[in-house]
């Protein structure tokens, strides 16, 4: 897991999902919080063709030391954060033996999907924390807030304190109601005991 003892901090996260699920929005909050709180951060993105409903991912690296590679080596990711279960599973070979998977359990079936139960089973075998992000986002007030639910869920493992401030900043242009929904989505993601689902 992310080591954030006093002397060193290293947290390598792979964000995985389907184009349009808001992975870059989610990661915007983390990157800005890192700048604020004095950490080094690298976030690699996928643009262009790969965005259109295809598989997307971003590598997010946080450390208090110099970070060299924009890509996380295989077997070195501390966390896989999925907004879609099959996409979370796609990056398994990047996870450390101790690493954690936190993912939405809600599949996006825009392809001939593998057996959904098998996907979830394999994730569980790897100790994944599964979260019904659609349900929680709906409870927060908008199904679109799934990405922020997932941000809330992963936040318990991050050393960052200013994430909520950046959620406010991110959505302030869209009005108070949207800010409120997303802050609630964050909290629901944070407090839900996802391992029980």
């Amino acid at each position: 897991m992310c080591d954030h003892g006093e002397k060193k901090m290293k947290c390598d996260i792979i964000l995985a999902g389907v184009g349009g699920q808001g992975i870059l929005t989610l990661s915007y909050a983390i990157v800005n919080a890192c700048l604020d709180e004095g950490y080094n951060v690298l976030q690699s993105e996928i643009h262009g063709m790969s965005q259109r409903g295809g598989a997307v991912y971003a590598h997010l690296r946080i450390s208090d030391k110099k970070i060299y590679s924009d890509m996380i080596p295989k077997g070195r990711a501390d966390i896989i954060l999925g907004t879609e279960p099959l996409e979370a599973l796609r990056h398994l070979d990047h996870l450390t033996p101790e690493g954690k998977i936190i993912t939405s359990s809600v599949p996006v079936k825009n392809i001939i999907y593998p057996d959904e139960a098998k996907v979830l089973d394999e994730l569980r075998r790897h100790g994944a924390l599964l979260l019904d992000s659609t349900d929680l986002a709906r409870k927060a007030g908008s199904i679109k807030a799934q990405n922020i639910v997932m941000l809330g869920a992963v936040s318990r493992f991050l050393p960052l304190k200013t994430l909520k401030m950046y959620i406010k900043k991110l959505f302030s242009k869209k009005g108070k109601e949207i800010v409120k929904i997303n802050l609630l989505a964050f909290d629901l993601g944070l407090i839900t005991k996802c391992w029980e689902i």
Partner: protein
């Protein structure tokens, strides 16, 4: 100036590699930014447009050649200009690039080219360093986003000092990684001072012969500068690594102990440092992203790299590939899942291109021999299921020329499918010739009011303006048909196209409907 630079009034910003290049150019005092969108370079001009509109001329150009020439004129007038494009864009701009290198510049001129090793969003893996060498134009290759900022700033100084255009070579991972970058204060723009020496700006053979000689001498003299921009760390003698650009990051990520390293950030190569390293170590490996470009220039040394299989010749590097190449064991990890299915990109729900392909496939039922020449944009996805409606896609604008060539050879019926932005990029000249010969084919120009694939940049000709251009190129007005590509009009649209296919001459169908994703964004 010794590196790393220290700026007065230093500030920290979160920037993509592309944005760091743009910010570096802005702070170097550009007055013009010229580009055609193309992944992974698009965000360079996007950033200039979002931060400096009104202060810097930064409208999108129709193609990379025009962008380059606009920038060159800007430089001729004494002002600084940035040009940005993806690697294949430089093929389009290669003509002015090669010759302007010899003529030189007036105001500082920097060309940022983003390569796409691994072909995330491209049709090939060409390495722009080869172009820099071809034209003998100096080239920076930043390692990270900070260097992307620093070196772009410095590239303008180098350009003005040596009277030469300078290239900054990026790769996808550098362009599209976001991080914290320290930036300095903005320098003033140049004042207007047009070039006076018309001999130097006119590459007539008699003048060009002399200038080419001078140009080569100038290029070689930059080796000294190259030594300063590389850094040599002589340690253990067992292994020496020459690593350029982001390859250096993948090396250092693995924290190899007791090896000697030469970090390269500039071309022409720092030959003195290379010789020092070669003398110091027993084994020498070159690690570089792209072609074996450095490796080929060092064939007088015994070198390991892409040519002897130490590293792969194709695809992009990763920290894992580099780890293996320097003889380190893989990290313990987990096995990849066997359940995985690929999830390719697709046209968005409600995309007007989807409706156009439904029309084309409807027409194909009546004309099963119909062949379809495609082009570059979101609509290239029509080549994939469920549409399978495209037979070819090679380069920007190729659809119309290839379709015409096939008709010339005797193929019937033939259609070409091209987007509005690609049409103004390099489809218009092909249509001019097809109109002149009244070639027996049907050209679809998909007008979605934007350059969609790269994120929705404004285009130069839509709606009536596009129709007027097609007319102006000489297409018979009776065979220009504008249709509305929506599912509810499928039958009526098929009927219109079915009438044009048997016509023994050139027809142009223009499906007009705004990109659904852009409409949502607005």
């Amino acid at each position: 100036m010794p590196y790393p630079f220290v700026y007065t009034m230093q500030k920290k910003k979160i920037l993509l590699g592309d944005e760091a290049v743009a910010q570096g150019a802005i702070d170097a005092g550009i007055s013009g930014s010229y580009a055609y969108p193309g992944t992974p370079s698009t965000e360079i001009n996007e950033y200039v447009r979002s931060t400096e509109k009104g202060k810097i001329h930064c409208a999108w150009s129709p193609n990379e050649k025009v962008a380059y020439e606009e920038a060159l004129g800007h430089s001729w007038a004494g002002k600084r200009a940035l040009i940005a494009m993806k690697h294949v864009g430089l093929n389009v701009a290669a003509d002015p690039f090669m010759s302007s290198a010899i003529a030189g510049i007036n105001g500082g001129m920097v060309l940022a080219v983003a390569d796409d090793p691994g072909m995330h969003s491209s049709q090939n893996e060409q390495d722009s360093r080869c172009y820099a060498d071809f034209a003998k134009v100096p080239c920076f290759e930043p390692t990270d986003q900070q260097e992307a900022y620093d070196f772009t700033r410095e590239a303008f100084d180098l350009s003005e000092k040596n009277n030469i255009p300078v290239m900054v070579r990026l790769v996808t991972r550098l362009s599209h990684t976001r991080t914290i970058v320290a930036v300095g204060a903005k320098r003033k723009q140049n004042s207007l001072r047009p070039a006076r020496d018309n001999k130097r700006w006119t590459v007539l053979p008699a003048y060009a012969r002399r200038m080419f000689k001078e140009h080569l001498a100038k290029y070689d003299s930059l080796q000294k500068f190259s030594e300063k921009r590389s850094s040599l760390s002589l340690r253990g003698k067992r292994l020496g690594v020459i690593a350029s650009g982001i390859a250096y990051n993948y090396l250092m990520e693995n924290a190899p102990k007791d090896i000697s390293v030469l970090k390269i950030n500039f071309y022409p190569l720092p030959m003195k440092s290379i010789e020092k390293l070669a003398k110091h170590v027993k084994k020498l490996i070159v690690i570089e992203e792209g072609y074996p470009f450095i490796e080929r220039q060092l064939n007088r040394f015994k070198i390991h790299g892409k040519l002897d299989g130490t590293l792969p010749l194709t695809g992009e590097l990763t920290p894992d590939i580099v780890r293996k190449a320097i003889g380190m064991k893989a990290h313990p990890g987990r096995k990849a899942s066997s359940l995985l299915k690929i999830r390719p990109p697709r046209l968005c729900v409600g995309c007007p291109h989807a409706s156009t392909y439904d029309v084309i496939n409807g027409v194909k039922k009546r004309f099963p021999k119909l062949r379809s020449f495609g082009d570059i944009g979101c609509y290239t996805l029509g080549a994939l299921p469920p549409y399978n409606a495209i037979d070819t896609c090679i380069d920007m604008g190729a659809s119309i020329g290839m379709a015409k060539g096939a008709v010339d050879a005797g193929v019937r019926p033939v259609i070409a499918v091209i987007g509005d932005s690609t049409f103004t990029h390099s489809g218009m000249t092909s249509l001019l010739k097809a109109a002149k010969e009244n070639t027996d084919m049907t050209v679809f120009i998909l007008d979605n009011d934007t350059t969609a694939m790269t994120g929705g940049q404004e285009t130069l000709a839509n709606d009536q303006r596009l129709v007027d251009i097609v007319k102006g190129l000489g297409v018979d007005e009776r065979h220009i048909r504008v249709i509305d590509p929506v599912p509810t009009r499928l039958k009526e649209n098929i009927a219109i196209v079915q009438k044009e296919i048997p016509y023994k001459g050139l027809s142009v169908i223009i499906p007009v409907r705004a990109c659904v994703t852009m409409v949502k964004k607005r």
